[in-house]
């Protein structure tokens, strides 16, 4: 249980500065940057966020403030100050470096944005210079701190390699066990902080603030990861899984209460729909290993089924089912379609299956487009879709109206958000329970080696069909809510790739980005994939391009996804020996003896 403090000999720093000077420089720079945020950064309130006030920070200054404060804290921890050691169980200096770079990034971005928006650096007030120079000093000095891990090969390390290495850190040793209540408290607090950060991100009013938020969170999260805090938290959450789920649920329920604006609650509801469908897809792709490129069709089937029986005036079937019946209809319709599409296609393997499902996804869209009365029977109203789907009404609780609950006002989107949350919880439960059963193991076995799985007595076709049908049903469930949230269903919502997230390409991306086969991965991936395009409207034209670039970078840097399955992590990083489980055996020495025969 030792942490590398200043005394520990690390690798040579990226910049040749004496360690003591570097540390003092980092501290001083961060402190200056922090003080600077209390000064005015510009003279006019034309720049959003009102950075003209001396005395308290606002807008982007808050981000610099938080980032600088964290830099200070972690730099102090590097001094080995008692009581701060828990902050850095893994790397000590690399988190400081990352945070200092993050501070510099946020501050630099703000200064650049002010200068660009207002037309020149003359618009900057001294406060911006104070923070900017402070952040620069901190970042430069932090690069002079010794590295946390030795260079892989010292002979031919280029500048870039040395830079990357200086940001790496060894993984944290196993933590001492805390009392249960303390561990649970840590989980709860972490989810509280997570909710705050997420709500802040959604709440950002203007593009500049959101980009600053992304910079800060990106660097901050990586720093926490390098410091070993993320892995500590993961250890706790895997230990108390039910409590973690409950805490996550409570945090999710609290979310609409933090949002005053209708449009932000709507983003929340859409993220939830997107995430739920992605989690359903994870059953198919992540567990059973069936690459389904037409998954969004099942969402469409559910949505259309719900729309047709919603009592919409434009519905070809003039019936109005109660919502529970509409949900069952949507799920059943998706289930039927899942079986119908799955039965002939699931005899294929790998790439062939992917192509065929891609085709079926498009067939759904085209069919719906053509069932308009002209080129086919009038069922779906063609490309017009089914508009004016009425709002739901549960026992007099109208989802279309505002309701005051505990002094908070919940608007239409918030109502639907909470309804969708129920569905998400169901899907989470289904995913977890099916994954941890005989059926789930059989799915993973099929994914790993189908021939061996059948030789173990697994009826591969039946189980694949089961996974396919279950995934379809879950998507259908989400579709029934989506129809009501969006007021209208049109064929164009359910194409392979499009600009609005729940489509097949983005769903698959959410699963892969988040982490295949994990519970939280698709939810995280969906949140990022929805939030970032929704917030950065100005790059709408380049969205698919940037999306592609992001995917390439991710596959290069973290192929196992953001939330790594323990297995996947091993698969892609062969050299890491993270695989050894908790030492439950006393003698591990004879493990290597039998290797001679290999």
């Amino acid at each position: 249980m030792t942490t590398n403090h200043t005394t520990a000999p690390g690798a040579a720093p990226f910049l040749a500065i004496p360690a003591a000077a570097a540390r003092i420089g980092t501290l001083a720079g961060a402190a200056v940057a922090l003080v600077g945020t209390f000064l005015a950064w510009t003279w006019t309130s034309e720049f959003p966020g009102d950075l003209t006030v001396t005395g308290y920070p606002g807008g982007l200054q808050v981000l610099t403030l938080i980032s600088a404060a964290l830099t200070l804290l972690f730099a102090l921890s590097g001094y080995g100050i008692r009581g701060l050691g828990w902050l850095t169980p893994g790397g000590t200096n690399s988190p400081v470096r990352l945070l200092a770079l993050g501070t510099f990034g946020t501050t630099g971005y703000t200064i650049g944005a002010i200068a660009y928006d207002l037309g020149g650096v003359v618009n900057l007030e001294p406060g911006a210079w104070v923070s900017g120079i402070g952040a620069l000093i901190a970042a430069a000095a932090a690069l002079g701190l010794p590295g946390d891990q030795p260079l892989p090969n010292t002979t031919a390390a280029g500048a870039w390699q040395r830079f990357r290495n200086s940001l790496g850190a060894p993984s944290a040793p196993r933590a001492k066990a805390l009392p249960d209540w303390a561990e649970i408290l840590i989980i709860v607090v972490s989810f509280g902080i997570g909710l705050q950060i997420f709500a802040y991100g959604i709440d950002t009013d203007y593009t500049e603030l959101f980009i600053g938020f992304l910079i800060t969170v990106g660097f901050g999260f990586t720093a926490l990861h390098r410091a070993g805090l993320v892995s500590r938290l993961t250890t706790l959450t895997t230990k108390h899984r039910n409590i973690t789920l409950a805490a996550a649920l409570v945090a999710a329920v609290c979310f609409p209460f933090t949002q005053q604006k209708e449009e932000y609650a709507l983003i929340g509801a859409n993220i939830l729909i997107f995430g739920t469908v992605a989690l359903g897809l994870n059953v198919v792709v992540g567990l059973a290993g069936l690459l389904d490129l037409g998954y969004v069709a099942f969402l469409g089937v559910g949505a259309y089924a719900a729309a047709l029986v919603s009592g919409s005036t434009m519905s070809a079937i003039g019936v109005e089912f109660p919502f529970w019946a509409a949900v069952l209809t949507g799920a059943a319709a998706s289930l039927v379609f899942g079986v119908l599409i799955g039965a002939p296609t699931l005899r294929l393997r790998g790439d062939y299956l992917a192509i065929v499902t891609l085709g079926f996804g498009e067939i759904f869209r085209l069919t719906v487009n053509n069932l308009n009365g002209n080129s086919g029977p009038d069922l779906t109203n063609g490309s017009q879709g089914i508009p004016s789907i009425p709002d739901l009404n549960f026992f007099g609780f109208d989802f279309g109206l505002k309701h005051d609950i505990l002094g908070f006002t919940l608007g239409r989107s918030a109502n639907y958000y909470l309804l969708m949350l129920v569905f998400t919880a169901v899907v989470v439960l289904v995913f977890r329970r099916s994954g941890e059963s005989r059926i789930g193991r059989a799915w993973v076995a099929i994914r790993e080696d189908e021939t061996a799985a059948t030789a173990m007595g697994i009826n591969a076709f039946r189980l694949k069909l089961l996974a396919f049908a279950l995934g379809a049903t879950l998507a259908g469930l989400a579709g029934t809510v989506q129809a009501h949230v969006n007021y209208t269903v049109t064929p164009e919502q359910y194409q392979f790739a499009g600009s609005v997230p729940p489509n097949s390409a983005f769903l698959l991306a959410a699963v892969i980005l988040g982490g295949m086969g994990t519970l939280s991965g698709p939810l995280v991936g969906a949140a990022l994939l929805y939030l970032i395009p929704a917030k950065l409207q100005f790059m709408q034209d380049y969205q698919l391009f940037l999306f592609g670039v992001a995917l390439i970078l991710l596959m290069r840097l973290r192929p196992e996804g953001l939330v790594a399955d323990r297995r996947k992590q091993l698969e892609f990083h062969e050299t890491d020996q993270l695989d050894l489980p908790e030492p439950r055996q006393s003698e591990e020495t004879d493990a290597g003896i039998a290797k001679a025969g290999a």
Binding site: R433, R438, V444, A453, A455, L570, Q585
Partner: protein, 301 residues
């Protein structure tokens, strides 16, 4: 084609394959092979590379549907579906290890329990009363098997991280998890050192002692003649001879098939012709895998 069967009539027949023929297009990989395995018996199946041993295995386990002939297990004809064969009670291992590499050791064995448990999706989703009980029973049985095989302390390791010998053992444990009446082992000691081979030998005896009949393909002659009650020799898809290890070892056709040279002394012209015909046929049918014969020649002695 004379076959010398030494089946004891008293024992009950577990596996009865009669007239099994497997053709791939014009190539006949297995031709009219009869084989029986009785309860409590260890039967070996040997033959040069490309003789059709694994193809015959695949016919037995339903991976291939034999072109002709039938395979019955304990009196009932086996359906040509691998999972149904396993359900009926025949479990197998693979020549090239086919574990579920990214699952843990315990999970691998639990997958083997699949046919002997019934809990479906609803039971898992609703956590019906039987679910936890069945799950615990499965785990208990799986741990028992790991204990038996000697991997209990590595239950949480990923299968891919096990040393080679342990992976072979785990494959056996996974096969045993389906409570088979007959275990088919496809080259269980391939790539093992002598110590590991001896351990495997003891393991197979222990499995036999549990009342499970074993059919084993192997190239290691010392191993097979120590182990097996009966040995069948497959050459060019046909069963050449079957009998106890002494019978097989002293059979000149077996020696000829393995050595590929005339028997020492003065071979008759017909024997030379037969061997040459065998060789010509072997190179023709076995194609690329005709490197054959020379590796095992010391062992046949």
């Amino acid at each position: 084609m004379t076959t010398m069967t030494t089946t004891t009539k008293t024992a009950t027949t577990v596996l009865d394959a009669s007239g099994v023929t497997m053709r791939f297009g014009g190539l006949t990989a297995v031709r009219n092979v009869d084989l029986t395995v009785n309860a409590g018996e260890i039967v070996g199946l040997i033959g040069p590379n490309g003789a059709g041993k694994t193809t015959f295995f695949n016919c037995l386990t339903g991976l291939y549907v034999p072109t002709e002939g039938k395979v019955s297990y304990k009196g009932t004809v086996l359906p040509p579906k691998p999972h149904l064969v396993t359900q009926a009670g025949i479990a197998r291992t693979f020549q090239n290890i086919r574990l579920f590499a990214n699952m843990t050791v315990l999970e691998n064995v639990l997958v083997g329990r699949h046919t002997r448990t019934k809990e479906g999706l609803w039971s898992a989703l609703l956590r019906l009363p039987g679910f936890t009980k069945a799950e615990n029973a499965s785990r208990e049985r799986a741990m028992e098997l790991l204990e038996f095989i000697g991997l209990a302390d590595k239950a949480d390791h990923l299968a891919r991280n096990l040393p080679y010998g342990d992976q072979r053992k785990l494959e056996i444990a996974r096969a045993l998890a389906s409570d088979p009446g007959l275990l088919l082992l496809d080259e269980p000691t391939a790539g093992m050192n002598p110590q590991e081979t001896r351990v495997t030998e003891e393991l197979i005896f222990a499995i036999r002692d549990q009342g499970i009949a074993v059919l084993v393909i192997e190239h290691d002659m010392r191993f097979i003649f120590n182990l097996c009650d009966r040995v069948a020799v497959l050459v060019q898809g046909e069963k050449l001879v079957e009998g106890t290890s002494d019978v097989v070892q002293s059979d000149e056709r077996v020696v000829a098939a393995y050595l590929g040279t005339p028997f020492e002394g003065a071979p008759g012209a017909e024997e030379v012709a037969e061997v040459e015909a065998a060789e010509a046929g072997a190179t023709k049918t076995a194609g690329s895998s005709a490197d054959t014969t020379s590796t095992e020649e010391e062992d046949t002695r």
